[in-house]
Structure formats: structure tokens, C-alpha cells
Homo-oligomer: 487 residues x 2
């Protein structure tokens, strides 16, 4: 600590001291209120995170794994960390390379019932294409995966239309399985394709893409999302009798491509081998510019690294930022990190992923052993004026850090308001204008402080039990799913 602190800082230090002095206060002061002032003040006033988000979204744009945009984002992130004086390196990741083609769909006219309707659709990521001339089949509507099997032979030769009732962000987890698994479930019952109602909380005829996966040994049938409006149209038309749809998808999967996780770190002053991992994912879908998903997370963790790198002395432990590649359609970056760093995971004292958009901060959640909350809660007071100074129920998580679960790495979540996240998620509308610079700055401030606390607090979070059913390296979250939002 400098000896000539201004009086105001000393007063602030007294005012913002945690309610209970931490255990080793006399010889080890722990997280410093002056640092709270510096980190939160800088995050709220300097506007770096939003400026970086504009570079990433307006400057680079979409960055699906294996694309030129993804490669440009890797180089941009590396240059940016260097410009910030943060040590950075690239770690290789082989990524799937899926490309969208021309795509369209229409309801064919039914004499005496209705004229032709175009459908607003987008291929789901990973889908095979249709034959060049498209495929035409009757549509059969279901509301769940189980219903497909129950329909038996009625599904044969049809396009299965997975309808659902998503109304709010919290519903995403309920219905995401229709998108990821629908095509294979339908194909097993003899279907020739799948249409999935977009997982969206707002729509202006705007389809939302996302990952789907084929099960091994099952016929691969084309699968696309359909806008909420067109899902409702299909539902209404089906009430009156058979409905035929023509689907044309030009998408395809190319050979795997070379890409990278971008890893940066601020070395710890006292326990450099202990790592606090801050993650976000650099890839996005190929539509929109991935502003909320996950440009916001990327720029929040980058800005946290920049601010922590300026602290003198450095925090006690190492803070490592990982910009994962391929969260959206493969999780190869998350898996590659867990493999490459297997030997040091026992020293990962916390992992935190920002991947729920750039909304305002709400509080902190944990996935840790008993006593974890008691370690963190005393240090949340500096976030009270941001409305984020509380522990929240629900487990922290994140798709890219889910491969760290078998190693029992404690997870921390800085939760943000995701109530409008699924208005634009995975759609053309996920663009810079949707991110409020105030919210982004406030969540960056919360993240910077929580990250510093984790790196500086004398104790470490107790490690959670590994779930008994957890197979090593299997992701806990569905591919492409953000970590659960606060209720």
C-alpha cells in the first residue's frame, strides 16, 4: 500500500471495510477497499469494455468456428491483450467447420384451404443439407421428444415439427433439447427432416439458430429452426388438415479446421501456481455479430484482465482469462483446455464463465463445497450500489468450464440480467445496439471486483463433490446453452 493515501481513500477504506474482519486480518489484509474503488471506478468510467465490443462486433462481425471471422477474432484478442500489457498466448484447438448455404422453406398451397406461404427458417448448426432441389413432405407436429416415439408409423416420411411454449428466458433449458436432439429422434422414427420452433422470447418473424447433434448410427436428416410466427402458422394450418412443406438447406460440414483458445494471464504475486480462471467464448453463430453471445462476456473478461494487470502489487493468485473457441457448436475449446491443463486443474481454485449476455449485474452464485458462501459473501459489499452485492440461489456453471467438473474446480458466477437475452440469442438481431453500455460497464465492474476477491482472499473456495454420474470430460451443459440465468 502506498503510504501517502489521500484522506478520502482512507475514509472510504473504513467505510467499505467488510462487516467481519477476515481470519488473518492482522498479518494478511485480504482484498483491499482501495482496489474496489479503483476497479469499479475504472470499469464504470473508462468505457473500455464497450469500445472493445464495438471492435469485435462492428469490426469483425460473426465468427463461427473455423471461419475467417473466428480467425480474425483470435488475432484481434491477442493484439488487444498485448496492447493492454497482459501476457497472452494461443492454444491450438481443432474445430468443426460448418457452413450455411442458401436456404428457404415454404408451405405448399392446399387447394381450397390456403395459398403458398414462405417460412422464415434457418438451418440449425451441424445440420446436413437437403438434396439440391429441396425435400418436400407432410409436416407432423409434436410438443416433446417422447411424443415422436408415441406416434409410431405416423412419423414415417414426414417432417417432424417440434413446437413448444417458450415464453421467458428461464424456459430455454426446458426446450433446448428439441433443437439439439430433435432431428435424430425424428429420424429414428422414420422422419425425413425436422423443423424446430425458435427458442426465442421475442420475434418479428426472426428465426434463431443453434447447435444440433446427430446420434451415432442414426440417419442424418436436415434440421432447421422456424420463426415463432411461422410455427404458429403451421400449427393453425395443421388444425385444418395435412400441410406440406418444401425445405431447401444448402448447409454442409467441411473438414475440421485449425483454431485457438486465446489464453491470457496476470501472474499472482504470492501463489502464482493457483489459478482463478475467467472464461468467455470468442466464437459466435454466423448470423448477427454475437454481441450478447458472447461478445459481452469476452469484453468483460478482457477488461477485467486489463484492470487487474495494472494493480501493483498484483493479486495474490494468478488470474487467467480463457477466450474459448467453439462453444457454440462443439465445445472443442473447453475440452481442449481441460485436457491441455489437466495437470494443473487441482490448482484451479475457481472458474467463472461469462456467457449470459451483457445485462446489468444481479449478484453472485457458486458451485462449491460447504462453506463457500461464507468465504465470498463478506466481500460483496462494494457491489451493493450496483445492485449486485448478494449471493444468488442456483449453481454457477458455464458450457466451456463444464469439462472442469470432474476435477472438482469450484465455479463462481457473476449473474447478469438475461431476461431479454433470448429476444436476440442466435439470431440476426444479436448486434451491438442490443447491448446497453451502462449495463455492460456495471457487469464488468462486478466481474472485476469478484475476480480480484477470488485471487486475493486469504482462503480458497472448498471444492465441490464431483457428481457421481459425471463421466470424465463430458460437458455438463448442453452444447450452445448459456449457463442458467438467475430466476
Amino acid at each position: 500500500m502506498p503510504s501517502a493515501l489521500p484522506l478520502s481513500a482512507v475514509l472510504l477504506s473504513l467505510l467499505t471495510a467488510p462487516p467481519k474482519a477476515p481470519a488473518a486480518a492482522t498479518k494478511d489484509v485480504g482484498p483491499s477497499p482501495q482496489v474496489a474503488e479503483r476497479l469499479i471506478g475504472a470499469a464504470l468510467t473508462e468505457g473500455h469494455a464497450y469500445a472493445r465490443l464495438a471492435e469485435l462486433t462492428d469490426g469483425i462481425g460473426p465468427r463461427l468456428s473455423g471461419s475467417e471471422g473466428a480467425e480474425a477474432a483470435v488475432q484481434w484478442a491477442k493484439r488487444s491483450f498485448e496492447a493492454d500489457g497482459v501476457k497472452v498466448w494461443l492454444e491450438p484447438v481443432k474445430v468443426p467447420r460448418w457452413v450455411r448455404g442458401e436456404e428457404s422453406a415454404r408451405v405448399l398451397a392446399s387447394a381450397g384451404r390456403f395459398r403458398e406461404h414462405p417460412l422464415s427458417i434457418m438451418a440449425l448448426g451441424g445440420s446436413v443439407g437437403t438434396p439440391a432441389g429441396g425435400l418436400t413432405a407432410e409436416v407432423i407436429e409434436v410438443r416433446s421428444l417422447d411424443e415422436v416415439a408415441a406416434l409410431g408409423d405416423k412419423v414415417k416420411g414426414k417432417i417432424v415439427f417440434f413446437n413448444h411454449a417458450m415464453a421467458e428466458a428461464a424456459d430455454y433449458g426446458k426446450y433446448a433439447g428439441l433443437r439439439t436432439r430433435g432431428a435424430s429422434v425424428a429420424a429414428k422414427a422414420g422422419a425425413v427432416g425436422a423443423l424446430v420452433r425458435s427458442l426465442a422470447t421475442a420475434s418479428l418473424r426472426s428465426p434463431h439458430t443453434g447447435a444440433m447433434r446427430y446420434e451415432d448410427g442414426v440417419a442424418q436428416v436436415p434440421s432447421a429452426s422456424v420463426s415463432v410466427e411461422d410455427a404458429e402458422l403451421l400449427h393453425r394450418l395443421l388444425v385444418g388438415g395435412p400441410v406440406k412443406v418444401e425445405l431447401k438447406l444448402g448447409c454442409k460440414t467441411l473438414p475440421d479446421a485449425d483454431s485457438f483458445n486465446v489464453v491470457a494471464e496476470v501472474k499472482g504475486r504470492e501463489k502464482p501456481q493457483e489459478v482463478v480462471l475467467l472464461g468467455a467464448h470468442l466464437d459466435s453463430w454466423d448470423v448477427g455479430t454475437g454481441a450478447h453471445d458472447d461478445g459481452a462476456g469476452v469484453t468483460m473478461v478482457m477488461e477485467t484482465a486489463r484492470l487487474l494487470a495494472k494493480l501493483k502489487p498484483a493479486p495474490r493468485r494468478t488470474v487467467r482469462v480463457v477466450l474459448f473457441m467453439n462453444e457454440e457448436n462443439g465445445l472443442r475449446g473447453g475440452k481442449a483446455y481441460a485436457e491441455a491443463h489437466a495437470a494443473e486443474l487441482a490448482n484451479h481454485v475457481a472458474a467463472l464463465e461469462m456467457d449470459s449476455g451483457g445485462g446489468k449485474p444481479l449478484g453472485v452464485a457458486l458451485r462449491a463445497g460447504p462453506g463457500g458462501e461464507e468465504l465470498v459473501r463478506p466481500w460483496l459489499r462494494p457491489l451493493e450500489a450496483l445492485g449486485a452485492g448478494k449471493m444468488l440461489p442456483g449453481e454457477a456453471g458455464g458450457a466451456d468450464i463444464s469439462p472442469l467438473i470432474p476435477a472438482r474446480v469450484p465455479f463462481v458466477g457473476v449473474r447478469v440480467d438475461s431476461s431479454r437475452y433470448f429476444d436476440v440469442h442466435h439470431s440476426h438481431a444479436d448486434t451491438l445496439d442490443k447491448v446497453d453500455p451502462k449495463d455492460l460497464a456495471q457487469s464488468t465492474a462486478a466481474l472485476a471486483w469478484v475476480s480480484y476477491v477470488l485471487a486475493e482472499v486469504p482462503g480458497v473456495l472448498p471444492r465441490p463433490e464431483a457428481p457421481p454420474s459425471e463421466a470424465p470430460k463430458a460437458p455438463a451443459a448442453p452444447v450452445g446453452a448459456p449457463k442458467p440465468s438467475a430466476p
Copy 2:
């Protein structure tokens, strides 16, 4: 009146009698409270308007003038009036035939500044196409038509980007001129094309089309709307330096086509030569299904005709419903009606157009001579429980009835809540799901009662003065503009 009225009806009659007995009450009872009960009850409970709207939007879909959809809508409307027992005929209208083609636009990459971006655009109705390979030019941003001239030579060879600040429905009139006139104003200054920020109050990267017109003797340059998000992107990119856009529009204008106004009427029992005209427009844009614009208006006036046709005795005057063709891109139907019926316009005692969407009713507005309000106000009490029992400020109007202004036909408006109308107006998202059946039923009820009052009330509205500047037959409202919404 039947002599064996149930007691409840008699009581209702007493309860809902207008506050002041109309002048000729002893020998001429005027609008009947029992009819209020019947019309409002039927409109609110029978669901005909919404069922018809589903037929028009889901069954027929888009219906741009001259298209197969427009012709199908004409035949559907004729059949529907016949099924309702309402006399109907077709009146010929020659309409422009504009067809959209393949269309796309992109911001070209600028080395070191930004990568390529697709732009979400739609050709404006009436625009010429670009050369097949597209046109590429630098973009120059302006905020008004006047600004184009002020820029002088800087506009030469460029695409003029008309940006604006539309935030709410009431702003539509402020900025609609950029869309209708922008291309010619730009071309006069040497521009090669025009991009106009969508006139929208919500956006998920969704462009909104609409009519544009070329001035005689001015070079015709291609003109497209651009989504709000992409307008903001262009604005941000232009801050950093030159921005080049490639625009490809495959649209074109074919020879005029034969079409029709659909005219239906309920003959008056006492003054059949006096006409209360109820208008709406049957054509829509070629995207979406024209549910709010103007399927809602069409089905409200059709349902009003059906309910009035069932009254015995019929209303005193003739109620004539006109489903105009070509409101969106030419107003040929409105002009054709005024010409074909020129001889009887002196007997048009009121004209009313429903063309602000299917929102809930708010009240009644007029464009009449002094004393008009006093004639109407006493009869609005039956609409109080619907929240629509009041006179509203602002003049009534409507694009299709604007050619009746020189004949000094009094205008009446049943105003509806249009606050969310421009979220979907002229876009792919103007679909059935956007219309609330409750709101549509309530506005239909209000329209049915007001129409009956106009046809039954002993006196007639005083005729307004013709505006001194009004050239005969010139439309008062811009083409494609809905009548002004209530504030």
C-alpha cells in the same frame, strides 16, 4: 320494434338512453339502444371478424396490387359478402404491378477498419432494380431531404442514406417523406441510389418496406429500406471514414393490371340515396400477410356490414362498404371510386376508413363542419364500457377516402390503439398472431355502433369546408400512410 320485448331489454333501453333526447324524439326515435345491445353483443361474442382475418391472412396471405393474392382476396371478399347476405359488386381499377426480385446488400470490408457486413434490406415499392451485378458506391448519411441539397457535389455518385429518429407511432408522419421522396431528391443531387432507415418502432433486424415515388423528369435510382440495426451500423461505421455498400435489387414494374374495388351495401330504409361510406383496403404489401395493414380494417368493415344487414328494419340511410384496391402503392382504388361516384358524392353524408391496425378502440374523431361533434357525441355512451365513448382531438381521415375531400364529404374516424402498429407495419412480421382477437372484436363493436349511428341519426354531419389549396382528386395523405393515430 317488436311488442314483446323482454323486460331486461326495456330496462337496458332506459338505462342506456342518451343523456339528452335528440331533437325529433317524439316522431323519430333515432339510433336505438336495442340495436346497440345487438351490434355490440354480436361483435364481442361471435368472433366473425377474427375468423375472417384468419381466412384472409392464413388462407390468402400477401396481396400486393396486381398479384394473384390480390385477385384471390377480391374473389374471397365477394364470396364472403354474398355468404353474409350483403349485396356486393366489383368496380374495375387499373393498378400498378410492381414485383420484388432477389435482393441483398452488404457493406464492403475496409482494410484495417471492418470486415464485410450483410445489410438487412428490402426494396421500396415502386423502386427500379439495380443492374444485375448490383451497384456499389460510397454511402453518405443525411437526416432530412433538405440536407441533400445542402451537401451539393458531395452527393454525386453516392448512395444517400436517409437516417432518422423514429421512436413512436406518432413519428411516422415526420419521416415518411424520406421514404416516399428520398430517391428523387437524392437523384437530383447526382446520387446513384438511396437507402432509407425503416420506419419502425421495434426491430429485430427486420426491414420495413413501403411506397416510394419518382418525380417526373428525374433519374430513377434504386431505393431500399434498411433495418434499424443496420442503419445504426452504417452510422457508426461512417464515423470512422468512408463506407462502401453493394446493393442488388431485382425488383421491377410490369404493365398495369386489371383489378377491382369490392363494394357492398346495406340499402337504407328511408333515405337510400344518402350514403355512409365505410372503407378499408384489401391490398397489402408483398411481405407478411397484411394482418394489421389492413386485414384488420377489412374484416371490421365486413363484419359491420354483416351485422347491419341483419337489422330489421334496416338503418335509415345506406351503408356502403368499399374494400379499396391499391392503397399501398398508388391509391388507384380511392381515386377510381371518387371518379366513378362523382355524381353521388354530394349524397355521401359520411366516410370512415379503418386503416390503423386491429388495436382496441379509443374513441371517435371527425372532419366535419361546425356542430358535427354535437351530432355525434350524444350517441357514444354505449361505447363507454369499451373505453371508446369519447370524442378525440385531431381530424379523421384516410388515404383511400382522401379523394373525397374536394366533394366536402364529412369524415369520421373510429380510432384504435396504434401504439404498436409500426412494430410490424409493412414488414414480414405483420401476421395474424400480432392481432389480438379481443381488441379486434372491441374495435369492430365500436365501428358497428358508430356506423349505425351515422346511418340512423335524424340529422347529418355538417360538411367541412374544402381546403383552399386542395386540388381536385389529389390525395391528402401520402400514399401508403395510415390515417393519423390518436396521440
